[in-house]
């Protein structure tokens, strides 16, 4: 569909082939991109579960729609008048505000804190940037992400004003072209995950210990909620009655994952932010997509190989194995969250993060035929490991025979697996988070504090 709009801009008449369940999304996105009546030939039903004879019949019928679509008059989308940032769009009671925001699809379904100008301005005190600064333009609705609307959505999510520097860094991360927020409404239903490093985690009372990924601590929870709200409101990705978020079953917002840097230091390892190229002690936000979570993975033993073997099996083969075909054709950044005791046990055995990454790379494997079947059923009907080896995308070891039972690696590069230390220090558990390939790769931004940060925090805590 995006290719059709590029063709139209180039002066070439187009028609898009779209399955019926996605027509509403295609029209909404086309309209957001300036096209009112993009020609669509509709495939009725679900392509991947239709019988071959039905598929053939339906495509033959689509030929007529292709012809009709090319011949139909097409209008440009009308320009809508929208409010300015400081315009008061509604005045009413708390319940009235909730109803108004619900009706306009401006909430996540939960009540919000009313974004009054006064509350927004309190947030703006915690940044030295101008409220009008544009942090990026977010697809699919192509709306400007600004310091102002970060503050508005931060208020709504129940954040404290002092979270503002973290909110700005998170939005900067998702605004980068490499993050590909335009794919944030794809059917896997992925969700952004914010990872936080640096002394600000302790300063603002983030939970990096027991229950780290559970709602309940204001900093972790409200900032996680903020990003989901921002996703809906500024990127414009909304589930029904909206049309642009097509997550089939999908996931809901993640709380912020704050790394336990004291535990990292005790293990003699380096923080995740240093792995990402920053200096230890920097306040850093990393955002990446997360499409599924593993079981809790309990690792025991006093030898690194004993601990790592279970991770290779459960995190590697069982959890990431299913989605490994995405990494075979593109970038892919799974994430392992590890409770401190396991990191310390590995470190006692002389292992660094790099040793563990290498072990997982070498030992997590699945049958090639299984990866190809998973890819085909997802809709990658052209996927072939043999073809990826022939075009140089994959190394030769992936296709040394045609045996579908030959084992191939789950992880394409050792360093693509991120490792973060968090969770209960009194237990020996990991969880794996599966990234959605090139859609939402990890993007990191340093948190910029205002010049009067310390003073402002003191004032807040009086």
């Amino acid at each position: 569909m995006r290719a059709s709009i590029v063709a139209e801009k180039a002066g070439v008449r187009s028609v898009s082939l779209v399955a019926s369940g996605f027509v509403k999304q295609a029209r909404a996105i086309a309209q957001a991109l300036g096209v009112q009546d993009l020609a669509i030939a509709e495939y009725p039903g679900v392509i991947m579960t239709d019988k071959e004879a039905d598929f053939q019949r339906k495509i033959e019928a689509m030929a007529d729609q292709v012809v009709e679509g090319l011949a139909a008059p097409v209008r440009a989308a009308p320009r809508k008048t929208e409010p300015g940032p400081r315009d008061i769009v509604f005045t009413g009671t708390l319940d009235g505000v909730h109803e108004f925001f619900l009706k306009n699809l401006w909430t996540d379904g939960l009540p919000v804190v009313p974004p009054t100008v006064e509350r927004v301005e309190e947030f703006l005190r915690f940044t030295d940037r101008s409220p009008d600064d544009v942090l990026g333009v977010l697809l699919p609705e192509k709306r400007e992400a600004t310091v102002w609307n970060v503050a508005v959505n931060g208020v709504m999510a129940g954040c404290r004003p002092e979270y503002m520097p973290i909110l700005i860094a998170a939005v900067e991360a998702i605004s980068t072209p490499e993050f590909r927020i335009e794919d944030g409404g794809s059917t896997p239903g992925w969700e952004p995950l914010i990872i936080l490093n640096g002394p600000i985690a302790r300063e603002l009372d983030f939970n990096s210990g027991q229950g780290a990924m559970r709602v309940g601590r204001q900093a972790n929870t409200s900032i996680g909620r903020f990003l989901r709200l921002y996703w809906r409101n500024v990127a414009g990705l909304r589930i029904p009655p909206g049309a642009t978020d097509k997550g089939t079953i999908a996931l809901s917002f993640n709380v912020v994952l704050a790394e336990n840097e004291e535990a990292v230091a005790e293990a003699g390892w380096q923080p995740f932010s240093v792995d990402r190229g920053f200096r230890a002690g920097d306040n850093v936000v990393t955002v990446q997509s997360m499409v599924s979570i593993s079981s809790p993975i309990y690792c025991g033993g006093d030898k690194p190989e004993e601990l790592a073997r279970t991770l290779a099996e459960v995190f590697g083969r069982d959890t990431c194995g299913y989605w490994s075909f995405t990494g075979m054709r593109d970038q892919w950044f799974p994430l392992l969250v590890m409770s401190p005791s396991i990191a310390k046990a590995l470190a006692r055995g002389g292992w660094t993060k790099a040793n563990l990454q290498r072990y997982l790379y070498d030992n997590a494997k699945i049958p090639a035929g299984m990866a190809e079947r998973y890819a085909w059923q997802t809709g990658l009907t052209h996927f072939s490991i043999k073809r990826l080896v022939e075009d140089g995308t994959l190394p030769k070891e992936f296709h040394e025979s045609d045996d579908p039972n030959r084992l191939v690696r789950v992880f394409m590069h050792p360093e693509w697996t991120g490792i973060v230390i968090a969770g209960d220090p009194d237990r020996n558990q990991c969880r794996g988070y599966v990234n959605n390939h090139k859609q939402g790769p990890p993007v990191s931004r340093k948190v910029e504090l205002p010049a009067r940060w310390t003073q402002l925090l003191k004032e807040r805590r009086k």
């Binding site: 392509i47 005045t91 109803e99």
Partner: protein, 112 residues
């Protein structure tokens, strides 16, 4: 009319609230004129390498060739995967590629 949830006493505070969205940067697209006769036209096939698009194009080619004399098709492989690892590069080159191939029409798929 207010329901019971929105009824309030005169003493209940009210809030003037601002808009949580951002300015739209979307520009209207000038669209190309409709084409009612495909005879002699050149059709560029754009594929995202998903959902059996190769089979779809095979069937569509056959049906349209039977109906419109002189219609020509530029195979999707000439343009590259419009939603693959090199998506931005492929899509960025599309206007030039369409000109080079003399395309009058694009059929693009598959959205699902």
């Amino acid at each position: 009319m207010m329901d019971r949830h929105t009824q309030h006493s005169p003493a209940e505070p009210t809030y003037g609230v601002v808009w949580p969205l951002g300015r739209s940067t979307s520009e209207r697209v000038d669209l190309s004129p409709p084409i009612s006769d495909l005879s002699g036209k050149t059709v560029g096939e754009m594929w995202d390498y998903l959902f059996k698009g190769d089979s779809m194009f095979t069937i569509l080619r056959e049906k349209l060739r039977a109906r419109y004399p002189g219609i020509k098709f530029v195979d999707y492989s000439e343009f590259g995967n419009t939603h693959g690892p090199k998506e931005r590069e492929v899509v960025g080159k599309l206007p030039d590629a369409l000109r080079e191939h003399g395309c009058d029409i694009v059929i693009s798929g598959v959205g699902a």
